[in-house]
Amino acid sequence: MKHITDEDLTLLFYGEHDDPTLAVMVAESEELSARYDALCAELKLADAYQPPQRGDDYGAEVWQRIESQLVGKEAKTGGRLGNWLASFIQPRFSMAGALSIALVAALAFTLGRNGGQEVINNPIATEGAVPAMAMADIDSSRLLTHSVSTHLEQVNLVLTQFVNTSETSSNETEYATDMLVANRLYRQAAVQQGNHKLAAFLADLEPLLIELAYQAQSGSPATRERMQQEVKDGLLFRVRVMNKQLNKPEISV
């Protein structure tokens, strides 16, 4: 039997060992188990080494300190006329965003039409370990989970920016419009798939995204403050928690 070194156990601890049988060998051998447990206990102590906390406004503080030192390039703008022309020439959505939306639309269409029952041509399904019908469900569920997770990362990014700025920017409304469209499609897909918890969560997000998308035309500073408070009071936290849950495959959402 191959001699197992501490280096092997370290790689196993970090999930980086090439040999998938090593974990089994460790579990089956008392001596290896004892060595591995000792390594885990010692390395887990290092988790106590935590940096001092920084407040929610830390990013804004850093920006304030560095803003004046950012020199060397300015945004290339074409002046008022250029911007006005650009608003007609530039597409409302980026290609990447459009592709993403098309993908979700396709997902929603497929789920809606087949109810997630059609067999997807997946090589794993032919191995016989899992019935093909169940495999199709799992694949469409994973596709939705992955798409929504990416969507929530984007929502998190835009909401973080939103609660830290006092004025509406065109970027903000543009991103919110993109996200609103995507959010609706994901919600429909979740309903089709019977994932009512996810659908309800996305439905909760929608009113805020609508307000964000249209605040440039109608929003007052007071409205913005009220919305920022709403986001700070829990919505941002809920978005992060939901995204974490989606990234844990063992927990069904």
Partner: protein, 183 residues
């Protein structure tokens, strides 16, 4: 990387400050954590974070969209921290003739009561006893959760050299932390 993040990076690369501000808001906390663990000092970490963002602003046009922005920022933070520490530790040694870590060692010589603070302090001392390369590799692997390949890319070394740094660091850390396990 999300599509919106790509969009923001492209805008920042063209000189859009609002877009770059979004990146600062998003990545400041993570960069502070890394900078603090690399330097072991709050004020130094603050300086490193600021300097790293200023460098990122200058170099963002060189960022490749197929790479991970987080890893790219970590590479800048690591390089900035190394420059900072070499400069400041050298200056401090010249001014006080007392190595910075000796002060830290003395502070750490508290009774081993096994409290979270003792463990944290002991870990910090052990961490600072590692070489720069060992410390960086371990931090990026253990606390930041990068794969060994990513750590190697960030440190601009081979995967083999990266593994060796992690192994040496783990060995030293285990020796330092072992007495605390039983407490």
């Amino acid at each position: 990387m999300t599509q919106i993040e790509q969009k923001i990076i492209r805008k920042a690369a063209k000189g859009d400050r609002a877009a770059f501000r979004q990146l600062v808001l998003e990545h400041s906390h993570a960069m502070f954590r890394l900078a603090w663990r690399l330097s072991g000092d709050e004020n130094a970490a603050e300086d490193i974070v600021q300097e790293a963002f200023i460098k990122a602003w200058r170099k963002i046009g060189e960022f490749r969209m197929d790479a991970s922005f987080k890893s790219w920022m970590h590479r800048i933070t690591v390089n900035t921290a190394m420059d900072y520490l070499r400069k400041h530790v050298r200056r401090k040694q010249f001014e006080t003739a007392e190595p910075e870590w000796e002060t830290l060692d003395r502070a750490a010589q508290v009774p081993d009561t096994g409290t979270q603070i003792d463990i944290s302090r002991q870990t910090q001392v052990a961490m600072m006893d590692l070489s720069e390369a060992e410390r960086t590799a371990l931090l990026l692997k253990h606390y930041e959760g990068h794969s060994i390949q990513e750590v190697a890319r960030i440190m601009e070394i081979t995967t083999g050299a990266c593994k060796q740094n992690i192994f040496r660091a783990v060995k030293k850390m285990r020796v330092a932390l072992r007495p605390l396990v039983a407490t």
